[in-house]
């Protein structure tokens, strides 16, 4: 018989030929030394919207529940091990207890909301990490928004899920959902130790991949926003010139919404965003030395990545090795909005 390792490399290939529409979930153990390896652990069924009354809502609920149930099946024993620990031999007859912890969940933004059981659009609190109100996202008030409280939010999610399970007090359920922008479902991964227990990383574990969020592409290639400080100033200053950081956040929050609703951006739309953002880099990065000597050079560098995406962005069809350069995401991100602001800085550090 073939060595199991050799044959098992053929397995995903075999699965892809069956008559199912599925998407894979892969994991990686960061403690492994040497080459980065990703392993497929699940194929989640794609849930279609059927022709029925209230079809969109029902499909959404089905989609969320199927995802949570499959995730729980995959990590069922790993969750138990995350609390109890597993014995690892150290040599010399000694052992250590190893505790599993989820450090990073790479996905796109719609899936982030599904994983955490948050409402995905038109909500009072659109950010998964902080409690910024929708109206404040376009003002400097958004900068002082508090982080989401993991324990408190989970309390309400579990209460709402229990209400759905028991089928009573619909009014209370709706109040909980609308007040916290949550769905009445249980986030399966929250049962992992370290996410709902200290250090409470549940809302900080999600990271966006380059090709999941097309907006990052321009920053990825020019390596830092600070490179643009010597560009010609725009003819008209930003609306909130007194608070440049807030201004950047305003622009990016809008992009965030765009991504949330459309998910896939046309290359044309992305280019337009790049050109608009370049105009405020000069304010944001004042005093820094630019890498590219003029705006045209910067745009060229920024669009280089887009050349690989084609007219309409598509996900790659190979294992996700391309996230390896994103070590900046390993610590999770502080906030949807802040991640956009700080990521270029982080990348320049690396």
């Amino acid at each position: 018989m073939l060595a199991n390792k050799n044959l098992s490399t053929c397995l995903p290939f075999s699965f892809s030929l069956t008559a199912h529409k599925l998407y894979p979930v892969r994991i990686r153990l960061v403690n492994i030394e040497g080459e980065i390896e990703w392993f497929t652990v699940a194929y989640v069924p794609v849930v279609k919207t059927l022709k029925e009354a209230n079809a969109q809502e029902r499909a959404r609920v089905r989609r969320a529940n199927v995802l949570q149930r499959v995730l729980y099946l995959v990590f069922r024993t790993a969750i138990a091990a995350s609390h109890k620990g597993i014995e690892v031999p150290l040599g010399g007859g000694q052992t250590a207890l190893a505790f599993l912890r989820v450090l990073l969940y790479i996905c796109d933004q719609p899936e982030e909301r599904a994983i955490l059981c948050f409402k995905s659009g038109g909500t009072a609190h659109p950010c998964s990490c902080c409690t910024v109100a929708t109206k404040d996202m376009v003002s400097s008030a958004g900068l002082s928004a508090e982080d989401r409280d993991v324990v408190q939010t989970l309390d309400k999610q579990l209460e709402a899920a229990d209400i759905v399970h028991h089928g009573d007090d619909r009014r209370r359920q709706m109040v909980l959902e609308s007040h916290e922008s949550i769905h009445s479902a249980m986030p399966a991964l929250a049962s992992f130790a370290g996410l709902s227990t200290p250090p409470l990383l549940l809302y900080k574990m999600v990271g966006f991949d380059v090709l999941h969020v097309r907006f990052f592409a321009p920053f990825e290639s020019d390596s830092s926003a600070s490179d643009t400080s010597q560009l010609a100033l725009p003819s008209r200053p930003p609306t909130l010139a007194s608070n440049v950081s807030a201004c950047l956040r305003v622009s990016l929050a809008r992009v965030d919404f765009l991504l949330g609703f459309l998910q896939v951006l046309d290359a044309g739309v992305t280019k337009m965003l790049v050109r608009r953002l370049m105009r405020i880099f000069a304010f944001v990065c004042k005093g820094s030395k630019p890498k590219h000597k003029n705006r045209a050079a910067l745009a060229r560098a920024a669009f280089r990545r887009l050349g690989f995406l084609g007219r309409r962005s598509q996900a790659r069809r190979v294992a996700p090795g391309y996230v390896t350069s994103w070590n900046g995401l390993q610590a999770g991100r502080a906030c949807v909005c802040e991640a956009y602001v700080h990521l270029p800085v982080r990348m320049s550090v690396h």
């Binding site: 397995l11 069956t18 030394e33």
Partner: protein, 256 residues
Amino acid sequence: METEIASLLEFSRVPADDQPPSHRGKRRKTSETGDVPLPTGFNYTNHSAHIRGFFEDKEDWQRSEAMVEKRKRAAPGRFDSYKLQEIERFALQTSRGGLSQRELDALYDLISVIEGTKEGMPHDEGQDVPVTHTFQSAEAFKKAVSDDLDDAVLQAGWRSCAMEEGGVKFKAFFRPALDLILALLRTRTVRLWSGDDKPAPPSDQRETPMQGDAFRLCEAEVDKLPGRNCVLGLHIFSDSCQLSWSGGMLSLSFVS
């Protein structure tokens, strides 16, 4: 681990005293039995137990089964020589759309293996045995490939689970992550701490995930527990926008 999960269900929750009111909507009634029995409510000791109890009550794991079923008189492992293994690998990796340039390379390699002329190839006892002697018909060949594939799926721990959600049935495929992690711990070189044999002191370095804030925070928490403890960090990648599409054009059956 199963015992731990069972004990969790037993000891981390008690039935709630304040059961929800008996009034229920029209949809919860059936014509034959009247009221549908109300699910039992529980009080849990913590969030994690609550979530795990909720999903354990769905009994998805108990309903899951091995992904494929071995056929009667299955005989995996008949590709027992280097030559036969190469043929099997070729049979599994050839697509229906014709051979690409890369596949032509593979075919050439295969031919050179069959002829015994490939550079550096091992020469075992099966080298001189004709393939048609080992598999006397095309059917026997197909079954042997299928058996090997089923065997590999089972060895990798893949399972399938049928689940119903909102009146629609779905089938998911999965393998327990812990089994995979334990296998990796056995077969790979693993670094358990961010430092040499203990958590590293704080630094500004951020070159590997083990130097990340998340890992260090978890390490600090785990270090508070008695004994020698370490953290195994997981990254999860969900490619929800990439569908493994086929449309069922090629019938590759796992079950004979």
